[in-house]
Homo-oligomer: 217 residues x 2
């Protein structure tokens, strides 16, 4: 059954891999699944045809036969649930991989996104220079806790899983601000994720779609 | 196997059901599972014994034999995955129920929590009165999109599922600010969730733990 995802026609990050379709592309590459991409403009994202697929008017979406999904976490879960490569086979270990997916999306990403919102939606407001340190301190606290838990392990719980895929993807959003590099063990963890061949292919595909250029290597 | 969760010794909301243990209690009640509760003080939450269970020093956690989980979404997923009552049996419908869980936690809760943070962590800052309308506008936009998708349906996708449990729980956090009531169809949706006997039992249990009083009825 053909899998079709949606992605930005022009990603706000210019193809640096921070748009959420990269997460889904990565999961599909880890699972070895071919897929088609339908590119959507900002205008089309707010139109009824797209809103039927995604009530919040965003990307990515996922279509496979009669099944239509939005929400990156749910799409990655679905891929991991039905194909080998992203969840451990042991039931308890699988529950913990799901745990790290939710942790990435509900306990780590929101504070990182708060900084993105402060910069891009409130960047011109008079309070922003004074407020940014508070926002950054909340990120610092959370990343510190995560670094403590990771310790010197390679991945969050045994082998690489969909939980790592999601956590690495979320942490990538803390790199442009320089905050990821304040935590060398997390920066190294993210680099391990980026070094995976499946990530490399996903990144190259979304970069090429955004710039017409394929990275070397 | 005995299930043990953790909850606040004294919940910041005084037992109004907004602490995250209520979500887990609700799921356990829907599944008909007995459980024990270990109450944790704010101080104990930051100590090594609890941090081993929950790296971010929060509640709830979930222990069942050798399995230890944190992150409400993951705990509710685990309960729904292994017991009847919270996921539909059809595979595609189950994928959509998971989708609504992630949507609640990654696309709806963060903007609502932004308001909680603005009020309680930045309430005394000079910019807050001028900034609150922006934060509220972001909530309004998201809840409007959700109301459009819900339409006049009873639940988000067919019968009640773990997706509704999570969405209702998240929307409850928008009630104290009055923002939930700006969307009558969402307020009615939340009320349907609250009317479920399993929710009633969960709410009564956490209220009694926080106040020593059991609600009538």
């Amino acid at each position: 059954m053909t899998i079709t995802i949606t992605a930005f026609e022009r990603s706000p990050d210019g193809g640096m891999g921070l748009a959420r379709d990269t997460r889904v592309r990565w999961a599909l590459e880890e699972a070895g699944l071919p897929y088609d991409v339908r590119y959507v403009s900002f205008q089309a994202m707010k139109e009824p045809a797209h809103l039927r697929l995604h009530p919040f008017g965003q990307i990515p979406t996922y279509e496979e036969g009669d099944l239509a999904l939005f929400e990156t976490g749910a799409i990655v879960f679905h891929i991991a649930d039905r194909h080998a490569g992203l969840f451990p086979t042991d039931a308890d270990a699988r529950a913990r991989a799901v745990m790290w997916m939710f942790a990435a999306l509900n306990s780590v990403e929101p504070c990182i996104l708060e900084l993105v919102i402060a910069r891009f939606q409130e960047g011109d407001r008079p309070w922003t220079p004074e407020r940014l340190p508070l926002v950054k301190e909340r990120i610092r606290q959370r990343l510190g806790q995560l670094a403590t838990r990771l310790g010197d392990a390679e991945w969050l719980d045994g082998g690489f899983s969909a939980g790592d895929l999601m956590m690495v993807s979320v942490l990538l959003r803390a790199r442009p601000s320089g905050m990821l590099d304040e935590f060398p063990s997390l920066a190294a963890y993210v680099a391990r994720g980026e070094a995976r061949p499946a990530y490399q292919r996903a990144f190259a595909d979304q970069l090429e779609a955004n710039t017409g250029v394929r990275p070397a290597g």
